[in-house]
Point group: C2
Chain length 413, copies 2
């Protein structure tokens, strides 16, 4: 049994994680929230108190922290006596937070691959570039490190594992589909930090097909999916973290990721990209001022956190998995549907943050309770899926399965 959680990061996802940890503080113990922004931490603590989400008289504290500073992170982990660290800070701090966990023995959880701020869309193997280089050290020191434990990557990896365990003898295709059918009511906005959000789409699109990496351009390959609840939606082949770990764990399957985009998003994105306004390379104005265009675009766009109160509609994220069982071809769809408004009412964040944050808190619960305290580095598909899927259900994310006969049922209860 491990206890006391340190949440690194106080954006929308950090808020969800903190609320969900508080709601499980009878199991998790003390909850500490740390971020560069004291103000954002404080707002989350206030929100938890306001909603009376603490379930024990354990501590709820916040701390200002530069998570790029390993020693400061080590000191905070020790001071908080945290045995579990949930890293939902910027994509640039994974390696420093993991280093602090290795030094202190605390378990580590994150929800996205590490990125170098100076690079855009690095080439696969992504986990191989940074995280997996530490796998041996984790195993040697007996440190649990769960990588990519959000929704995608995360829950979608568990769905693939579930399919392998129970529904197929052989898996041919794993098509992960992520549709946000919600509406924020603004002309245009990104659901995450625009700098991170756009970086996902400005490079080469990678997919794993026929046993090798395939490359395409963004918005080159589009496909309409007919989905439960949200209906027919257009999605585009996109590079995404989980393709890499799934390609290692399902080397004979085709692994593709499809992100839903409306025509309006694509138009705005293409204009900005083609004009050079998504560039992270500085330009000089006629007046001689050096400016990074992407940072100006970020400055004029709505703050993603500001979207939550007015966000309506639903998300649908899941895995289309096809293959053979007992010699017969079949396809299933394992998925979740989340509601933006319900998420906001519960924890003050929109559905995208909610679906990313709940799984990380559930992963912490599974480590605290022992199910996932594997004392090594692991991606989610390498772990037992049922405790995760059940835990998600208890914490607000239900799982449905539409089988080869078109029958759709709740499987997570």
């Amino acid at each position: 049994m491990r206890k006391n959680v340190l949440v690194v990061g106080a954006g929308g996802v950090g808020r969800v994680v903190a609320h969900k940890c508080a709601l499980n503080s009878d199991i998790l113990g003390d909850i500490h929230i740390a971020s560069r922004s004291a103000e954002k931490c404080r707002a989350i603590v206030e929100s938890i108190h306001e909603k009376k989400h603490m379930r024990s008289n354990a501590k709820l504290e916040w701390h200002q922290l530069d998570a790029m500073d390993v020693q400061a992170t080590v000191d905070l982990i020790r001071k908080a006596n945290a045995q579990i660290v949930i890293n939902v800070g910027s994509a640039f701090v994974n390696m420093s937070v993991l280093s602090a966990c290795l030094e202190t023995g605390a378990a580590y959880i994150d929800t996205a691959i590490h990125e170098d701020p100076r690079k855009i869309c690095e080439t696969p193997p992504w986990y191989g570039n940074y995280e997996w280089k530490r796998a041996e050290e984790c195993a040697k020191r007996g440190v649990t490190a769960i990588l990519g434990a959000g929704f995608d990557p995360g829950v979608v990896n568990a769905y693939a594992r579930l399919a392998k365990d129970e529904h197929f003898d052989q898996i041919k295709d794993i098509d992960i589909v992520d549709i946000n059918a919600g509406s924020h009511g603004k002309y245009f906005a990104t659901n995450f930090d625009p700098e991170i959000n756009f970086r996902e789409f400005t490079g080469v699109v990678y997919s794993w097909q026929n046993g090798a990496w395939q490359t395409n351009k963004m918005f080159e390959i589009g496909k309409e999916f007919d989905l439960p609840v949200v209906g027919k939606r257009k999605a585009y082949l996109t590079g995404h973290d989980e393709i890499h770990s799934l390609s290692r764990n399902f080397p004979n399957a085709n692994v593709r990721f499809w992100m839903g985009f409306g025509d309006h998003y694509i138009t705005v994105f293409n204009v900005l990209k083609n004009l050079g306004l998504l560039s992270e390379q500085p330009v000089k104005t006629a007046e001689g001022l050096e400016v990074v265009p992407l940072k100006v675009v970020k400055a004029v766009l709505p703050d993603p956190a500001s979207l939550a109160p007015d966000y309506t509609g639903k998300t649908c994220i899941g895995d289309f998995i096809s293959g053979t069982k007992d010699g017969v071809d079949k396809e299933i769809f394992v998925y979740n549907v989340a509601d933006h408004k319900e998420a906001f009412n519960e924890v003050g964040a929109q559905g995208i943050s909610y679906t990313a944050g709940v799984p990380a808190a559930v992963a912490a619960l599974l480590i605290a309770q022992g199910d996932w305290d594997v004392r090594k580095m692991a991606n989610v598909e390498e772990l037992s899926p049922w405790p995760f899927i059940k835990g998600l259900h208890q914490n607000g994310l239900k799982t449905f399965l539409k089988d080869e006969r078109g029958e759709d049922r709740l499987i997570s209860e």
Copy 2:
């Protein structure tokens, strides 16, 4: 007879004006080019020498000048002994250059209304805001000041006057149509300084209809025109300088200006505008840097001057004029067609600069020769149109007239 010309401004239009003045230097005498940028002035002088465009052994000189500085401009006019000043500098210097002309007695020519850099799309009466306040002083001092002597405003005003003099008893509608059917081969670019170009389209659209100012939004009213040479083209109701002076000189006519835009231009413009990237109000980046978004957009767009070498296709600008003659309703179209490539081959500028610059040089010739040396302030429709139209023809811009029977003929020869 007046002589010796000072050209203020060394952008694309300044280049055309300087070349055309040089080609008429047997009449105009010395040619002086002044701008904030010594480099641009020097390039124009070199281009004139290279093309052997000087037609006399008069002087061809350039000067660095801040035309906002009235005394410096007065000093330069005197030093150059310039009796004619052609102001094709930024829209912000009209008042200071006019002041210098009033002090020295030099004739003044410009091609666009004065603008205050701190305001965007001021409300009508535009000329009344600045230029016409000096009309009395011009008359008192006997200073010739020809306002708006480019193509539009300028030539299109002369076309309206021609129609009134020779083709109608009563004019009902003056619809000025400006179509650039050329292609610069870039994803997106503006033909003038993006700061000025976008400012034209970010405010309210004014037109003069039924004896009063009407307001619309940009891109609210679109209409397809079937034009000679360039064919069917969509144009949008737009505010433009000449609507104001024509509304005073043709108060009973409806005066509208239509600017051609392709769907792609409108898409890009709308994205930039709706995101707030065309704003001249500074925003602050996450890093605390204060930046004016419009200046960043300008920095990433191609320099308009760089478009000229690869510009192909044609422009068509003219006036649809309808009314009655001898009790019968009729409509005519008076117009010019210019070619981007031909303009570049002749003077190293694209067609948009060419059509704006040639008329200003012709106006200078008409002042030098006495036809337009009216010793007061005047808009082009208040002056005799034939010497202007003939002079344009001799200097590269032909005028055609398509009459009520659909017959199309060259009238400027």
